[in-house]
C-alpha cells in the first residue's frame, strides 16, 4: 500500500490517522537501516559482525517498541536529493550570516512577520521534514501547523511588509519543490513536474490537478492544529 491510496479516500472522516493506520511492519525497513547505522556509528566499528548485531538489535527494538507506522515515500532521486542537501547547506550559511550580523549590529532593528505557507504535499513525513528544514534555516521558525490544509505558520525574521512576506512564500515553496524532486512521493512529484512544464511559476495544488476525486484539503476545513 503506497501513501497515495489513503489520500484518495473520498470521505475525509474515514482517512486513517498515522496511529490507526495498519501498515505492515516490513514497510518500516528504513527505521532498521537508521538504527543499525546509529549502532555501527557509536561502536565506530564497521566489521560485518557489528553490522549484523546492529541489525538484530534494531529488529528487536522495532518489534518490542512499535511506533505508529510512517508512510515513507515511494521514490527517491539521488541526484536531486544531493542537490537539495547542497542547496540546504548554502541556504543555512547565507541565513546564518544574516541573523548573526543582525544580532551584532546596534539597536533593536528587526520587524518580523507571521507568514502562512500552504504546502503542496499532504504526506505526514514530508510535511514534518519540510517544517524542520524551514525551522533550521535561520530566520524562520514554525510556530503552528494546520494539518488538514497542510499549512505551516512561520515566524520570519526581518519581514517588514506584505511584499517581503510574498517573496518568502515563493522562496519556501521553491524549497518544497526541491525536496519533492529529491524524495517526495510519486503523487507530489507529478505536481512539481507539471509546474516545471508550465514554467510560469504558478504553484499547483492536488485539488486543481485532481479536481474530481480529492475533496481533502479544500476550503472550509476546520482550522485546527
Amino acid at each position: 500500500m503506497t501513501s497515495d491510496s489513503e489520500h484518495h479516500t473520498t470521505d475525509s472522516e474515514n482517512k486513517p490517522s498515522a496511529i490507526e493506520d495498519r501498515r505492515s511492519r516490513l514497510s518500516q525497513w528504513p527505521m532498521i537501516v537508521g538504527l543499525t547505522f546509529l549502532w555501527v556509528a557509536l561502536w565506530q566499528d564497521f566489521t560485518p559482525g557489528t553490522i549484523v548485531l546492529g541489525l538484530v538489535f534494531s529488529l528487536i527494538v522495532m518489534l518490542s517498541f512499535p511506533l505508529p507506522p510512517v508512510p515513507f515515500a515511494d521514490r527517491i532521486n539521488v541526484f536531486h536529493s544531493f542537490t537539495f542537501i547542497v542547496y540546504f547547506l548554502w541556504k543555512i550559511t547565507v541565513a546564518t550570516w544574516q541573523v548573526a550580523s543582525k544580532s551584532i549590529s546596534p539597536g533593536p532593528n528587526v520587524i518580523n512577520s507571521v507568514v502562512a505557507v500552504k504546502l503542496r504535499t499532504q504526506d505526514d513525513l514530508l510535511m514534518t521534514l519540510i517544517g524542520h528544514v524551514y525551522a533550521l534555516i535561520p530566520g524562520s521558525l514554525v510556530i503552528d501547523v494546520d494539518r488538514p490544509s497542510s499549512t505551516l505558520f512561520l515566524h520570519v525574521i526581518d519581514v517588514p511588509d506584505e511584499q517581503a512576506a510574498e517573496a518568502f512564500r515563493v522562496d519556501s515553496l521553491d524549497i518544497e519543490a526541491r525536496m519533492i524532486r529529491g524524495f517526495g512521493s510519486k503523487r507530489d512529484y507529478k505536481l512539481v513536474q507539471a509546474e516545471d512544464r508550465a514554467k510560469d511559476g504558478v504553484v499547483l495544488r492536488h485539488t486543481e490537478l485532481e479536481a474530481n476525486d480529492d475533496p481533502v484539503a479544500t476550503e472550509g476545513e476546520s482550522w485546527t492544529s
Binding site: F37, L38, V40, A41, L42, Q44, D45, F46, L89, I92, T93, A95, T96, V99, A100, K102, S103, I104, P108, V110, I111, N112, S113, V114, V115, A116, G131, H132, A135, L136, I137, P138, G139, L141, V142, I143, D144, D146, F153, H155, I157, V159, P160, D161, E162, A164, A165, S222, W223, T224
Partner: protein, 131 residues
C-alpha cells in the same frame, strides 16, 4: 621547519573550530540583543546549526580518522532533529499566550485563523450540538 600536509590540515581544523564556536557565541549574543521572545528563539536555535557543523568538521579533521565521521554525523543530525522541535514548542506557546509585541510584527497570517477558531469555539459553547 617545513610546512607539511598535516600542518595545513591542523590549520584548517583550527580555523573551523574557532569559526564554529564563535558562531555559537554570536547565537548567545543574539539571545541577549534581540527584542522579543520569538526573535530570540531564532538566535537561540539557529546560528549554531552551522556552528556545530563547522566545529564537528574541524574535530573530524583534527582527529584525522574516517571512523569518527559517522559519530560526528549522528551528533549533527541529532541537533537537526531536536532544535526545530524545541523552537516550535516555545514559539507556539509564546504565540498562543499573546507574548507578542505587535509593534514588531508586520504581517500576521495566523491571527485571523486563531480568531476564527476562537469564534467557532465560542459559538459551539453557546449552541451545543443537539443529539
Amino acid at each position: 621547519m617545513s610546512i607539511t600536509f598535516d600542518s595545513w590540515l591542523d590549520l584548517v581544523a583550527a580555523f573551523l573550530l574557532v569559526f564554529g564556536t564563535s558562531l555559537s557565541a554570536v547565537a548567545g549574543l543574539g539571545l541577549l540583543r534581540f527584542p522579543d521572545v520569538l526573535s530570540r528563539m531564532h538566535a537561540a536555535t539557529k546560528p549554531q546549526v552551522l556552528g556545530l557543523l563547522l566545529a564537528l568538521a574541524g574535530l573530524g579533521l583534527a582527529v584525522g580518522s574516517w571512523v569518527v565521521v559517522p559519530v560526528l554525523l549522528v551528533a549533527w543530525l541529532m541537533q537537526l532533529i531536536t532544535a526545530p522541535v524545541s523552537a516550535h514548542m516555545v514559539g507556539r506557546a509564546t504565540y498562543r499566550s499573546h507574548h507578542l509585541n505587535p509593534k514588531r510584527i508586520a504581517v500576521d497570517d495566523l491571527a485571523k485563523v486563531v480568531r476564527e477558531q476562537d469564534r467557532r469555539e465560542a459559538e459551539k459553547d453557546r449552541n451545543p450540538p443537539v443529539g
